[in-house]
């Protein structure tokens, strides 16, 4: 039986190797080969050759076909010293790959030559454990999770919609969550606002939200804004820097205000609204050429035709469903994956459990996002509702 040394020597005569200089030339070409790093995770985390993908030796056979479906595609493999990549090259040849070379001397030699390496951030052990179910998804992975940890999402409202949205965004590891709410926790909230609890009755919702979210995920920086969005503070709050806004407000004036702000700032806005058993959901992303709220409803209804949950009632779980969908849209926007609901208005009827949708087109005559905008300053619509003070 051959020893390891003998096996390795035998292998190296069967596969093709390149030295660091040759590898660098190959990788600098117009159509470079696929570069695969077969080292272990901790080695990869400490630095790698730029543009390499990571397929550890242990997962090579099972994952290589997804990374390189075309078996004639040129591939360069490397490890730390050139031995593991030699074994890997043989494996790939056995799998039918036609154009595989191994980097003799490996990453060590590459570095000794003074060639470029990259040391991107990677997740520590705790984060790898916490987000492991994300890391397993190809569309997310470590890169996606790092993106989420860098993302900043502003949530308007820590109520029915805001509760599930905030919970799921925090769980996902969105790095910063802003929570705007000037209300206090009330008993009638607890039928649906799962961010809060009986123990928190009378507390500020933004603070209550912060405590719940921080306990769920200490990685998240939760920024409470104990105020109501209006023309007076919207610019200040937005100036803190947000990638996505989630609208979980409960009144028309604020919805129009935040819409206009999101258009002018080019920040996508995830819209959700509910009433009794029904919900509406979409994404307003004018920066990507989509419609805005005013393309959908140019003007708010008069107060007497605009019942709030307090007046109409709502099935407790309904905002749970719609708010969770809002979180889903926000995550996709933060990750830059999939398709958002921009251009589509999703309708949900819980009574018959039916999803339907209607098309939402950008209106060229829209007063805010159209070709000739007529609204160029914030409007504070005045809303009089039974038992609610007017905000002028």
């Amino acid at each position: 039986m051959p020893t390891y040394r003998e096996l390795l020597a035998q292998l190296r005569s069967e596969i093709e190797e390149v030295d660091a200089v040759r590898a660098r030339d190959l990788l600098a070409a117009d159509e470079p080969p696929l570069l695969v790093d077969v080292r272990e995770l901790d080695e990869w985390a400490e630095g790698r050759i730029p543009r390499a993908i990571h397929v550890p030796r242990g997962f090579l056979e099972s994952r290589i076909e997804q990374a390189a479906p075309d078996k004639s595609q040129p591939i360069v493999l490397y490890c730390a010293g050139g031995n593991r990549s030699a074994f890997a090259a043989k494996s790939l040849e056995d799998l039918g790959y036609e154009n595989v070379v191994s980097l003799a001397g490996g990453y060590t030699d590459w570095k000794r030559n003074g060639f470029d390496t990259e040391l991107p951030r990677s997740l520590d052990t705790e984060k790898r454990a916490r987000y492991s179910r994300h890391l397993l998804i190809p569309e997310v992975g470590e890169e996606g999770q790092l993106k989420l940890l860098d993302s900043r999402v502003l949530l308007l409202g820590a109520g029915g919609l805001g509760s599930p949205a905030a919970l799921y965004l925090a769980a996902a590891g969105v790095g910063r969550l802003g929570i705007v709410d000037d209300d206090k926790v009330d008993a009638s909230n607890l039928q649906r606002q799962v961010l809060h609890s009986t123990a928190r009755l009378g507390e500020w919702k933004a603070e209550s939200a912060r405590r719940t979210l921080q306990e769920l995920n200490p990685d998240v920086d939760v920024v409470p804004y104990r105020e109501r969005i209006s023309s007076e503070n919207v610019e200040r709050i937005l100036a803190d820097g947000w990638d996505v806004i989630v609208d979980g407000t409960d009144n028309f004036p604020t919805r129009y205000l935040i819409n206009d702000a999101s258009v002018w700032h080019g920040i996508p806005l995830v819209h959700g609204s509910i009433y009794r058993f029904e919900g509406q959901l979409t994404v307003f992303d004018t920066k990507a050429g989509g419609p805005c709220y005013r393309c959908l409803f140019p003007l708010p209804p008069p107060p007497e035709l605009a019942p709030s949950c307090a007046e109409g009632g709502v099935l407790g779980v309904l905002p749970g469903i719609v708010g969770s969908l809002q979180a889903s849209e926000a995550l996709k926007l933060a990750l830059g994956i999939g398709e958002s609901l921009a251009g589509r208005l999703l309708l949900f009827d819980a009574l018959v459990t039916e999803f339907s949708e209607v098309k939402l087109k950008k209106d060229p005559a829209c007063p805010v996002c159209g070709e000739h905008p007529t609204i160029t300053e914030y409007v504070d619509y005045v809303e009089f509702c039974a038992g609610r003070p007017a905000h002028a």
Binding site: G157, D247, N251, G272, L296, P300, V358, L360, K361
Partner: protein, 81 residues
């Protein structure tokens, strides 16, 4: 919100060759709908009408034709959160 005016029904059959006629038929069945739907003889700006998923404002407005079996959605704006 509109369901209250039609006795809680989700779907209501109505007749008409176009959206205008359809809504007239609907409002003759349920007169209290008019206050919710109509503003100065036009559909209120906070209620949208969709024929097979398309906003009639992007089609022919109230003159948009409707065929038998098509679904017309009356969608009021909602603000609850």
């Amino acid at each position: 919100m509109l369901r209250e005016e039609v006795g809680g029904a989700r779907e209501v059959p109505a007749q008409g060759a176009n959206v205008r006629e359809l809504l007239d038929d609907l409002m003759s069945q349920f007169p209290s709908l008019r206050a919710q739907l109509v503003r100065e003889d036009e559909i209120a700006p906070f209620v949208n009408v969709y024929v097979e998923g398309e906003d009639v404002r992007t089609l022919e407005g109230l003159d948009t034709p409707v065929r038998e079996g098509q679904t017309v959605i009356l969608l009021p704006a909602m603000a609850g959160g």
